[in-house]
Symmetry: C3
Subunit: 418 residues, 3 copies
C-alpha cells in the first residue's frame, strides 16, 4: 500500500504544473455530465433514465484494471503495435514524483487525466445508439471498447507506438479520442438499424424522414456549454504542462474555433433548413471544438477560425446526408465526432507547414479501419448472442419503463408517443 | 503564424500566475451558461429556444477582430478617449511571455479573459429584451455593442484612458461591465415596449401588472448558482495575478456580499410581497455580487456585508418600481446590473476612504450617458430600418415556433398561452 | 479596515499552494448547486421552489460571525472540548500571508474553504426533511446547526481538540461533515414523521410503502455529477496544500471509490429490486464518495475500490431498511451521509494499518451522540414552540404554493397529486 503521508520534497514548478493537470482532469470529468445532458436533451423523454444511466460511467474502473497499462505500457513493455505493462495501476519501482514526467505531473495525475479521456470515447457511442439498444449489451460494449480497443489504438500515437514514429500529429485527440468514439458509434448504428418510424415510405414511394425532436432544449444547451467548459481541460491539459504560452495559445485557438463553428453551422442551417436551428448551432460548437482538437497547438489564429468554420458547415451537411442515407444517429454524434474528427486531423496536414498531409491521412485511415472493424465485431457478436436491440413493444413504450421500470419525469404529463 | 512549439523559458512564478487567469477565464466562460439558464428559467416556455440561441455567443469573434484592440490599444495607440491597435489579435513585436505583464499572464491569456468579459455585456441585454425582440436585429445589436461600444468605454478606465487618470475605481466592472450591459438593456426595453398583456387596464382605470411567471425555477436557480460560481473568476481573476492575499480577500468580500444580498432581498421581499419569493432571492444573490464588484479589493469585510445587504434591498424595490413605471424587464436585468452596478460603484466612494465619491459619480454619469445614448441610437436605427419587434401573432405563439420553427420541449404538454 | 492593496511579497510556492485551495473552495461551492439539484430532482414537483429556497444558503454569514471562530479558535483560545476566538473574522494580529499556515494558504482562503464545508452540513439535512417542514423553522435549525453544533464538534478533531489528541483520523470529513449532517437529518425525520400517505396499511394489515418518485431524473443526475465534480475540491483541497503526490493520490482513491460505489449499488439494486434503478446508482456514487472521504489519504488503491464497493451495497440496503422502519427520507440522505459516513470512518481503522479501529469507533460514537442529541433538542424545541410541520392541506397542495405562493413550473401541466 502506498502511503502518500511522506511526500518527497517538490518545488513550486512541480506544484504549479501538476495543479493544472489536476484541474484539467476535473474539467474533462464534467464533460461526462455534458454528454449526459446533451444526449438526454436531444432524445425523447421516454428514454431519459436509460441514457442517464449509460452515461454514469464505470469506465474508469476497467481503464484502471487494464486500459491504462495497454495505452502507456511504460519502458520495456511498449511495442510498435502492442504493449502491456501489467494489470492494475502502480507507479514504477523507482518512482519519484519530483522527477516523473520532468516534474510536470505525478503518476497518479497522469492516470486520472488519461482515465477521464478514455471514458469519453464510450460516451460518444452512447448518444448514437440511444433509444433502442439494450442496457446490458451496451455496458458490455463500453467496457471492452474502453479497456481494450481505445488504449491499444491510442498507444500507437500517444503511447510511443508506430504512428508516433511516423510523425503523425493529433494534439488532443480529434482522431485518437473523437473519431475512435465516432467509428464505434457508426458501427453500432449500422448493426442496430434506425429507430422505429424514423424513415417511412411516403405516398410517392420516397422515404420520408421523421424528425424526432429532442425533448428538452435547455438540457441540450446545458450539455454543450459544459462540454465547451470541459474542453478548456481537454485541450489545455493536453499540453501536459502549465507552460503559460502554450496553454493560453491552445485555448485561444480552441475558443475561436468553437465560436466559428457556431457561425458556420448557423449560416449553413439558415440556408439549408431555412431557419436557425438551435440543435445545429449546438452541434456547430462541438464541431468546431472537435475540429481544432488535433491541431490546436500548431495552427495559426486565423487558421483556427477557418477550421472551426468549416467544421460548422460540415456538421450540418453531414447530419442531413446521414439522414438521407438512413443512418439514424439521434444526437448527431457521428457527424460531430467522426466527420469533424477526421476533418480536424487532416486540417493539421493542410494548415501546419511542417506536418505531412499523407501521414495524417494514414493515421486517420488505419485507426479508422481498426476501430470500425473491432466495433463491428463486438456489436455483431453481441447481436448474434444475447441480442442488442430491445423489442418493438419496449422501444415504443420507451426504455425507461421497459429497462428500468421507472419514468424520468413524474408529476409532469408526458406524451409517451411522439 | 505563431508557433508555441518553442516556448520561452518561464519560472514557477509565471506559471502559477498565468494559471489563475486561465482558470478564471474558464469560470467567467461558464457565466454564459448561467445567464442562459437564468434568462430561460425566468421567462415563458414558448420562448426558450430563442433565448438559448441568443446566449450561444459569437461575441468572442467580433471582440477578437475589433474589440480587444479598441479596449487595449497598447502603447503608442492609446488616447484619453479613443485608441485602436489594429484589426485582429497579435502579440506585440517584442513579445516575451516571461516578461509580458510582469510575468503575470501571457498576451493570449489576457485576450481570452477580456473576451469572456466582453461577451457578458451583451448577455445582460438579452434577458431584458426577451420574449419580443427579433433574432437578427438582436444579434446585430450585440455584435456592435460588444465590438465597439463596450471596448471604447472600457478603455477609458481599464485601457488607460481619462477615467483612469481621474482616479476612478471600478475593480472588476460594476460600471464597466454590468452597468454598461444594464444601460443597453434599458435602451432596448424602452425602444421595444412591454410584452403584450403585461400591463393592462383594470376595471377602475388603474394599471394592473400581470405576473408572467418564469417557466422553470430549477433552471433559474441553476443559472444563479453558475453565475455565483463564475464570479470566483470574474472578481478573483480581476486581481490580474494570483497574489494569495489579494485573491483570497477579494473572494471573501465577494462571497459575503452575495450571501448578504440573499438576506436583504429575502427580508424586503417578505415584507413587501408578504411571501418569500424565490426569484427575488436569486436576484438578491446577483445584486450582492454586482454591488461588490467595483470595490471588492478596497472595502472592509463588514462593508462588503453592508454593500450586499443594501444591493439586495435595492433590487427588490427596483423590480417593483420598474413595473409601476411600466418598464418591462422579464428577468430583472436592469435592476440587477444597472441599479446595483451604480450602487456598487458609488459605494466605493462611500466605504473606501481614499476614493472620491465625486469621481465615482462622474464615471457612472459619463459612462451611463455614453452607453445609453449609443444603445438607444443602435436600437432606434434597427427599429426604423429592419424593425426589431416580432409581430403580435408571433409574440403570442412564442418565438420558438415563429423564429426557429421548433419547440423547446416535446413530449411534455406545454400551455402555449399563459 | 484591511487594505490588501499592499500585499506582502510571496513566492511561487505560496501562490501555487494557495491557488489550489481557492479552486477547491470554488469546487466545494458548486456542491451546493449539486445538492439543490439532487434534492429537487428526487422529490415531487410541487415542492421544488421550497427546496431550492432552502439550498440557497446564507450559512456562510452565520459561519463568518460565530462558527469559524468556534471551530478554529486559534492559539490561546482552544480547549479540548470548547474554544472561541471572538465574534466575526479577522486575521491574527501578527498576520503575515507569506508565513501563515507555512505559506500554504492565507487566512482568508482558510475561512472561505471552511465556510463552504460548514454550509454542506445543513444542506444534507434539507433533503431528508423535505416536502413537509416549514421554511422558517428549517432556516432557524440550519443557522444554529451551522453556527454552533457543527463547529464545536468539528473543533474536537480539526481545530486541535481532544479527538485530534486521541489519534482519530477523518481526512476530509466522513464523520466531521457527512455524518454530522446525517445525524441532523435523522433527528429531523424522527421529529417530523413521514410524509402523508407514504406508509399506508394494506388489506392484509401490513404496511405498504408507496414510492413517491422524484419528479426529474435529469435534475437528480445533474446534481450527482456536480457533487462528484465538487468532491475534487472537497477531498483534494483537504490536503491543505497542493503537494502533487498527495492531491493526485487522494483524487485517485476518491474517483475509484465513486466508480466502485456505482458498481456496488447497481449490482445490489439489480438483485434486490430486480431492475437497475437510476436513483440507486446515483446514490451509489455519493455513497462511494462519502465512504472514501475519511481515509482517501491513507488507504491503498484497491482498498479504495473495496470501500466504495461496500458503500454502494450499504446505501441500497439502508434505503430499503429505513423504509421498512418507516423512517421517511425522501432523497436517501441518511443512507448516504450517515450510514456511509460511519462506514468510511470505521474503514480507516480496518484498512490503514497505523490507525486504531477503537479510536475511529470512539469518534463516530461520541460525535454521533453529541450531534444527534443537539439536533433532536433543536428540532423538538422548534416543534413545541413555533411548530415545524406544515398543515395537512399545505402538504397536499405542495409547499411551493403554501409557503411561497408560486409554482416551480408554469406552462407545463403538472399533476399536483401524485
Amino acid at each position: 500500500m502506498l502511503s502518500p503521508a511522506t511526500p518527497i520534497e517538490v518545488g513550486a514548478y512541480e506544484i504549479a504544473n501538476n495543479l493544472w493537470l489536476i484541474i484539467a482532469t476535473a474539467l474533462v470529468f464534467i464533460m461526462h455530465l455534458g454528454f449526459a445532458c446533451l444526449e438526454t436533451g436531444l432524445t425523447r423523454a421516454k428514454n431519459t433514465v436509460n441514457i442517464l444511466f449509460k452515461n454514469v460511467g464505470i469506465g474508469i474502473l476497467t481503464y484502471a484494471m487494464i486500459g491504462f497499462s495497454l495505452m502507456y505500457p511504460g519502458e520495456g513493455h511498449a511495442g510498435a503495435w502492442f504493449g502491456f505493462g501489467g494489470l492494475g495501476i502502480a507507479p514504477p519501482e523507482d518512482y519519484n514524483p519530483a522527477t516523473y514526467a520532468d516534474g510536470a505531473y505525478t503518476y497518479w495525475t497522469e492516470f486520472l487525466f488519461q482515465g477521464m479521456f478514455a471514458a469519453t470515447a464510450a460516451t460518444i457511442v452512447s448518444g448514437a445508439v440511444a433509444e433502442r439498444i439494450k442496457l446490458g449489451p451496451f455496458l458490455a460494449f463500453s467496457a471492452v471498447y474502453v479497456a481494450i480497443v481505445y488504449p491499444i489504438v491510442g498507444m500507437w500515437h500517444w503511447g510511443g507506438g508506430w504512428l508516433a514514429a511516423e510523425g503523425f500529429h493529433d494534439f488532443a485527440g480529434s482522431t485518437i479520442v473523437h473519431s475512435v468514439g465516432g467509428w464505434g458509434a457508426l458501427a453500432g448504428v449500422l448493426v442496430l438499424g434506425p429507430r422505429i418510424g424514423k424513415y417511412v415510405k411516403g405516398g410517392d414511394g420516397r422515404t420520408v424522414v421523421r424528425p424526432y425532436m429532442g425533448h428538452s432544449m435547455p438540457l441540450a444547451a446545458i450539455g454543450v456549454f459544459l462540454l465547451w467548459f470541459g474542453w478548456f481541460g481537454f485541450n489545455g491539459g493536453s499540453v501536459l504542462s502549465a507552460d503559460p504560452e502554450s496553454i493560453s495559445y491552445v485555448l485561444v485557438t480552441t475558443t475561436l474555433a468553437a465560436a466559428a463553428g457556431i457561425f458556420g453551422a448557423m449560416f449553413t442551417s439558415w440556408v439549408v433548413q431555412k431557419e436557425p436551428d438551435l440543435s445545429m448551432i449546438l452541434n456547430g460548437i462541438l464541431a468546431g471544438l472537435v475540429g481544432i482538437t488535433a491541431g490546436a497547438d500548431v495552427v495559426g489564429v486565423m487558421d483556427a477560425v477557418l477550421i472551426g468554420l468549416i467544421a460548422g458547415v460540415l456538421v450540418v451537411l453531414s447530419v442531413v446526408a446521414l439522414d438521407r442515407a438512413r443512418v439514424d444517429d439521434p444526437v448527431g454524434a457521428i457527424s460531430v465526432h467522426l466527420v469533424c474528427g477526421i476533418w480536424g486531423t487532416l486540417a493539421v496536414g493542410v494548415f501546419a507547414a511542417e506536418k505531412s498531409f499523407a501521414t495524417q491521412l494514414l493515421g486517420v485511415g488505419v485507426i479508422g479501419a481498426a476501430c470500425f472493424t473491432m466495433a463491428l465485431l463486438i456489436f455483431a457478436t453481441l447481436r448474434y448472442t444475447v441480442g442488442i436491440r430491445v423489442s418493438r413493444t419496449d422501444e415504443l413504450r420507451g426504455l425507461d419503463i421497459s429497462e428500468h421500470g421507472m419514468e424520468a419525469y413524474t408529476g409532469f404529463q408526458i406524451f409517451t408517443v411522439q
